[in-house]
């Protein structure tokens, strides 16, 4: 553990810095280079989307930002300090499958990270209520995950990621398992929550449409070894609307990403 993580960061809260990061997976037969010399700057409050074909290491990069995996080389800092292990006060994580604990109710799931730190029951409940209200699930706290739809489960998951009010929210293909309509609704919901909280969001997805629709910036990655091949600014105004999907700006951005991905696939 590095004591640095507890010092007041020099950088403003919510900045994510990735410097010359590499990741090598050692297998018995050979070493696989998953990521090579990746550098990336995410300014506080930005919505950044990582896209790329399977195996480009975008999820691996996200896991390293979450402190769930350590890079082989280079440095990653969150709000100016390295992240040697997961720290839900600095970084919230939302996974593809809702990954809720099926034996706990929605509010108990949201309280889980607080319970790990011994926050009192009443305090926990109050904060879970606030988080559930934020994601539009007021009144559903007593339900178990199997009593919730896929979209609602992901809302609980987002509430759990935000309950400790971390400046950074990392999302690993959070809507990939949802149907198209639910996915669109959840995208709008996420943008609403993002606008309301001002969090930095780093979002991994396979969907080009989702990437352009949600992002301030899109980072395009290529596989074997994982590398950043393009960094696009999405100039579309906010709030984003469904009509923008058929506009020229949207189309040309999506085409540009697609050309990169087709080249590397």
């Amino acid at each position: 553990m590095q004591p640095l993580a507890n010092i007041t960061p020099l950088k403003p809260a919510g900045a994510v810095e990735v410097r010359n990061v590499g990741q090598i997976f050692k297998t018995t037969t050979q070493d696989v280079v998953a990521l090579e010399d990746v550098s990336l700057d995410v300014k506080p409050g930005r919505f950044v989307v990582l896209v790329g074909p399977s195996g480009c290491g975008k999820s691996t990069l996200l896991m390293m930002m979450a402190g769930l995996r350590q890079q082989t080389s280079g440095t990653i800092t969150i709000s100016g300090a390295p992240i040697p292990e997961p720290d839900p006060n600095r970084v919230g994580v939302v996974f593809q499958e809702a990954s809720l604990f099926p034996w706990l109710t929605a509010e108990e799931n949201v309280e889980f990270p607080l319970a790990l730190r011994g926050v009192t029951k009443s305090d926990r409940r109050a904060r879970a209520q606030d988080a559930l209200k934020l994601v539009g699930l007021d009144g559903f706290g007593k339900r178990h995950p199997h009593e919730l739809s896929g979209g609602m489960k992901q809302r609980v998951s987002i509430a759990r990621g935000l309950v400790q009010d971390p400046p950074v929210l990392l999302m690993d293909e959070p809507f990939a398992a949802l149907d198209e309509q639910t996915r669109m609704t959840m995208g709008d919901e996420l943008l609403r929550i993002w606008a309301a909280t001002g969090k930095t969001v780093v979002f991994v997805t396979h969907s080009l449409t989702e990437a352009v629709y949600l992002a301030d910036e899109v980072i395009v990655m290529s596989p074997r070894p994982g590398r950043i091949v393009d960094h696009l600014q999405v100039s579309l105004p906010r709030p984003r609307t469904y009509e923008m999907l058929s506009g020229d700006t949207f189309g040309s951005l999506r085409d540009r990403i697609w050309r990169h991905i087709r080249k590397s696939a």
């Binding site: 979450a66 402190g67 769930l68 292990e85 997961p86 720290d87 839900p88 994580v93 996974f95 593809q96 499958e97 990954s99 604990f101 099926p102 034996w103 889980f112 990270p113 319970a115 790990l116 730190r117 539009g136 699930l137 559903f140 339900r143 178990h144 995950p145 199997h146 009593e147 919730l148 739809s149 896929g150 979209g151 609602m152 809302r155 759990r160 949802l178 309509q181 639910t182 609704t185 959840m186 919901e189």
Partner: protein, 265 residues
């Protein structure tokens, strides 16, 4: 008529038949003594049956503790560590397919014909399914749940107590159900084979003198024991695993509430 009342009616009908058929002379008393003569036989020898029941219950209790305690402990170790799993699991699985009762005479040679040989035999008999189920339960825990817990800063012991144990409970309980039932079988069968006390011994002894009412009185006691055990497991299941309500009910619940949640999904 609901399925439950129908089930009760069937049981009542069978009990009535048990009384009526032998009394009407349709079945010889030697094959099936009437319920009333069975109960009377048991009542007249209440002291003998009471003593036998005490012996059997004692053996079952000790064996249950060994089988369940040892099964859960070893199952947890084997399930969570890959190396012992590779070494032990194939052996245990094939051992489970062997009719272990062939080893019982060997146990009596080692431990005598008292309770010790019964306890040893029944413990091993019930241990195998409990251990296999526990190992399977630990192995099949969704790694995503463990990753999520880690991302929220859960330590190893917190992951064990708050994720691994609750997630494994349903599989472990189904193992206990099978293991516990086999413990009862093991104790009674070994008593019937070679012994000098217990309900199995009584059944076997009365059978040799063709005293059917006394045989059936013993059978009733074993039946009662099995039913009591089943009720106990059901009670534990209800207490421990609310989430076993199943996905079907969950889907229905989700469908019911979807229209009330706007603009949710």
């Amino acid at each position: 008529m609901t399925a439950a009342t129908l089930r009760r009616l069937i049981v009542v009908g069978l009990i009535a038949l048990w009384e009526i058929l032998p009394r009407a002379g349709l079945i010889p008393e030697l094959f099936l003594p009437s319920l009333s003569s069975t109960l009377a036989a048991g009542w007249n020898e209440a002291g003998e049956y009471g003593h036998a029941l005490a012996v059997t219950l004692y053996e079952v209790a000790i064996s249950m503790a060994f089988a369940c305690g040892g099964g859960i402990l070893l199952g947890a170790i084997v399930g969570s560590l890959p190396r012992p799993r590779i070494l032990i699991m194939p052996m245990v699985s094939s051992l489970y397919a062997v009719p272990l009762v062939i080893l019982y005479p060997v146990f009596t040679v080692w431990l005598g014909i008292g309770s010790e040989s019964k306890i040893a035999f029944a413990s091993i008999y019930g241990f195998l399914p409990t251990m296999l189920a526990t190992a399977a339960g630990i192995q099949t825990i969704d790694p995503q749940l463990l990753l999520a817990a880690r991302s929220m800063g859960a330590t190893l012991s917190q992951r064990l107590v708050r994720v691994i144990i609750p997630a494994a409970i349903p599989t472990v309980l189904s193992g206990l159900r099978v293991g516990g039932a086999l413990v009862i079988v093991g104790v009674v069968v070994s008593e019937m084979l070679i012994s000098s006390a217990g309900i199995g011994y009584l059944i076997s002894r009365y059978r040799t003198i063709l005293d059917s009412p006394h045989v059936f009185a013993g059978v009733l006691l074993v039946l009662a024991m099995a039913i009591a055990f089943n009720a106990a497991i059901k009670w534990i299941e209800r207490k421990a695993a609310i989430w076993q309500t199943g996905t079907r009910a969950g889907q229905n619940a989700a469908e019911e509430i979807t229209p009330t949640l706007q603009p949710a999904t």
